[in-house]
């Protein structure tokens, strides 16, 4: 019992460490890649190849003054970034990032928890993340922040529906909502991206929208709203929003890999956990690539795209999958 608790605590600490380190270096990776996409170098001055840039950034953020507007709501203003970071970090607890390993006679599964409804728990926890955005925007008492927060609400709620529908096909094919079960089902049925190609595309698009990244970065559109919901934030609170955004990106990449690309599965010359991280890195690269390539949506186009194209397409494909799986077709 005590041993299990120790293992659990170690796993939680490891996961948070990996995620925070991942956040720092995914951010550096993104800045370097964006630099190359735009025919410039990107940050390469601090340390060899810019490898110490995240540490310099973290120091800068921690030492900066923590400002709060005079008219702000102090409680909600302080709470909002914490909610955003909490929702982002907690989601990863149920994503398995490797096959169970055997260590000193113990079988350790590489996730914090393995509930039978893991997929739904991910949706529940990530749906709480929007509170950080809308509350931060409201509490700042700034028109740009408020507009950013309200845009974030409308966008995330709209795209969440298409996202939920797009994973229903995977759920039907795997016969389970347990993420480890979904990975193991792909061992026998083949990876789901091919039979679920349209849900995969819908999921990827909605994942970008849920993380508020270009071309869906309307809540923080710098040409219209200064910085959107986090205009007034500085120092560590501002950094927390960045933590939330990048960890959400890592999480969504992990989900894409788990649901559609066989999770940790792969040829046996590399350990499963390495396969998982390679796949996640590829997904993150695609995220950055899309950001570097596409311009921002116009607001009404964003809404009509979500409601009139993504949602019906995901729904029809879901109905088709249901008919196919149940043997009607």
């Amino acid at each position: 019992m005590i041993l299990q608790i120790i293992v659990l605590v170690v796993k939680v600490l490891l996961l948070v460490g990996i995620l925070m380190g991942g956040f720092a270096y995914v951010m550096l990776l993104e800045r370097r890649l964006l630099g190359f996409f735009q025919l410039r170098l990107g940050p390469n001055r601090v340390g060899p190849g810019g490898m110490l840039q995240p540490i310099a950034d973290a120091l800068k953020m921690m030492l900066k003054e923590d400002l709060m507007p005079a008219g702000a709501d102090p409680l909600v203003y302080r709470l909002a970034p914490v909610i955003a970071a909490f929702a982002a970090l907690s989601v990863d607890a149920v994503i398995p990032f490797g096959a169970p390993i055997h260590l000193f006679g113990l079988t350790i599964s590489l996730d914090i928890a393995n509930p039978s409804i893991g997929l739904l728990i991910i949706f529940a926890l990530s749906s709480l993340g929007v509170y950080g955005l809308v509350l931060g925007g409201w509490a700042s008492q700034n028109k740009y922040s408020l507009l950013g927060g309200i845009r974030a609400t409308a966008q995330i709620i709209s795209y969440e529906l298409a996202m939920g529908l797009s994973v229903m096909g995977v759920l039907l094919m795997a016969h389970t909502a347990n993420l480890e079960g979904i990975v193991l089902a792909q061992k026998t049925h083949g990876w789901f991206w091919l039979p679920q190609i349209i849900p995969f595309l819908v999921f990827t698009i909605t994942a970008i929208a849920e993380t508020n990244r270009t071309p869906f970065d309307l809540p923080e559109a710098e040409s219209e709203l200064v910085a959107g919901y986090h205009t007034e934030y500085s120092g560590m609170r501002f950094a927390l929003y960045y933590v939330a955004e990048y960890i959400n990106m890592i999480t969504q990449s992990g989900l894409i890999v788990t649901l559609f690309f066989g999770g940790w599965l792969g040829p046996s010359f590399l350990p499963p956990i390495i396969w998982y991280f390679i796949k996640v890195l590829i997904a993150i690269f695609v995220f950055v690539w899309i950001r570097a390539t596409l311009p921002r949506f116009r607001y009404d186009k964003l809404m009509s795209f979500g409601w009139k194209i993504l949602l019906p397409v995901a729904f029809i494909y879901f109905l088709g999958t249901a008919a196919f799986v149940s043997g009607v077709l």
Binding site: V76, I117, F123, L125, S127, L135, I156, E160, D300, M303
Partner: protein
């Protein structure tokens, strides 16, 4: 059992805060606290699917829409105490609350928890049992509720539709007519 009591006390405090605090956004936040507490009680009762559905539907969707409206309407406004439109509703609410509370207390005091057993199986609340119930014996009711919600959603769309919505953007509008772009706002 202890957990349920602790969460219950937190939920009660949050529920009181919903009606006591001045700022509507704070009320909405307290209401989010109540729904999350309810989800935790479901979890303690091992009704995991109910708990997750509670968070997804209430905390994740409905309360976000509440906040959407509240933040939009109250931004920058000083809250002022409005006069009660219905006279005596405070007293009515106090009396109703007392009657319900005393009734519940009497039931709890006179009935041992094990005697309140229902016909539900102990696994009720998981993904499979709820699915079996909903799509089995209760399918007609489920379809009825779905139709009702669909009617409501379409009703909102119809009521919000203005005459000018179909007009192309480039055509100049008659003087004094403002057209809201019905694509973004008119969803339920």
């Amino acid at each position: 059992m202890v957990g349920i009591f602790i969460i219950g006390i937190i939920m009660l405090a949050a529920a009181v805060a919903v009606i006591v605090v001045r700022q509507p956004v704070h009320s909405a936040l307290a209401l989010v606290g109540v729904t999350l507490g309810l989800a935790m009680i479901y979890l303690i009762l091992q009704a995991e699917f109910l708990a997750v559905a509670q968070v997804i539907v209430y905390a994740g969707a409905i309360m976000v829409l509440f906040l959407f409206v509240v933040t939009l309407l109250t931004a920058g406004k000083e809250e002022t105490e409005t006069k009660d439109l219905l006279s005596g509703q405070r007293w009515a609410s106090v009396i109703t609350g007392l009657v319900v509370g005393v009734g519940l207390a009497v039931v709890i005091a006179t009935h041992h928890p094990t005697k309140l057993a229902t016909s539900l199986s102990s696994s009720f609340g998981g993904l499979h049992p709820i699915g079996q119930e909903l799509w089995g014996p209760y399918f007609l009711l489920l379809a009825g509720v779905a139709l009702m919600l669909l009617t409501g959603a379409i009703g909102v769309l119809v009521l919000n539709r203005t005459e000018g919505t179909k007009a192309p953007r480039s055509r100049p509008l008659p003087h004094g007519v403002s057209v809201s772009d019905g694509e973004g706002e008119s969803r339920p």
